[in-house]
Symmetry: C2
Subunit: 203 residues, 2 copies
């Protein structure tokens, strides 16, 4: 199935909203309300959903549980995925215990850092390892996703190690562009660029 | 000047790359290399730049310093902006000392939290305050940007307080959609959605 990145982005947001609604025991939502909550229009939302071959709009609106299930199946979002974090500075340790990941089906099962000192001082319930064990642990635990939180100058090396070790997707928090083979899924979180995009619209 | 969000996003990335190149004392860059580093095509890059009325492509490529200057002037990115962070949990404190912000012209001048206990324990060189002082400090220090790092259930209240206090832009790290008036610039950093977008492309 060939789905555009924009559609995937919107559907992922819809999935997140449905997840939250489900936890609040909300059973139905109108397409207009769902569109508004996800920052899109009624028309695009319906189009995105029907482009996945998902139906199920009733007079009461979409059934939250079954729409979530159907979209999740189409985009393999119902599967739990294991992830690791490399770089346990302030940002990395904050991410290590970021509860939202767990709630949404992403299980952080390991943290790595090159400083044994830092590893000894970290307080977390997640297992942490020296980064020389990246390959071994990724393999042993079946980790599919790697989250990079090292300084910019080490990000490319860490990405290469993670890919060698077999991860299929990378989320990069280091403020630098890294080169990733086309078969590896990649997203970056560039905080500074987000601030710039805000500033660019100011006087 | 009416510039699309997509163009602004790309130009902001270009600006970030030029900033980094400038620090490494690189004087010229070809449009192809610049496009590649920012993840776009040569054609779109030139189009984006010329849509701002900026010229200056020479046989040696773009002059890094003057292109940065020109784009920065067009999008008001050369101006230093003051920002504050509300919510000093793990993520908030990590952001408080995030050096990249400073390097790129964003100066974090205050942190806020509702827990006096937390404020006393925080180690940072940034001034921190109880959140009842948000309005006073924003006004006194001339803070234009607010960064939200509180739990999801408090994000909307904090956003309302920041806007009441006069910030013009908000960067939201809380994993929830918040409602913002149209005259306030807004970006969110949804980590979980980024992981979902990766997962959606996997088997």
């Amino acid at each position: 199935m060939d789905i555009s990145n924009k559609t995937i982005e919107r559907i992922c947001r819809v999935f997140g909203v449905l997840n939250a609604l489900g936890k609040s025991n909300i059973e139905f939502i109108s397409s207009r309300d769902l569109a508004e909550t996800t920052g899109t229009t009624d028309y695009s939302l319906r189009k995105d959903i029907s482009s996945l071959g998902v139906t199920g709009y009733t007079r009461k609106g979409y059934n939250v549980g079954s729409l979530k299930e159907a979209l999740g199946n189409k985009l393999a979002l119902n599967k739990r995925r294991k992830a690791c974090i490399v770089g346990l500075g302030r940002l990395g340790t904050a991410l290590l215990d970021y509860e939202k990941f767990q709630e949404d089906g992403f299980e952080i099962v390991a943290g790595f850092d090159n400083s044994v000192n830092k590893l000894e001082r970290i307080k977390t319930h997640i297992e942490v390892f020296a980064d020389i064990y990246i390959r071994e642990i990724i393999d042993k635990k079946g980790i599919e996703l790697g989250i990079i939180a090292v300084p910019a100058e080490h990000a490319q090396d860490v990405a290469d190690d993670l890919i060698d070790a077999g991860v299929k997707g990378i989320l990069n928090f280091a403020p630098v562009k890294i080169i990733i083979p086309a078969n590896i899924m990649y997203q970056d979180m560039d905080f500074t660029n987000a601030l710039r995009m805000i500033a660019a619209r100011l006087d």
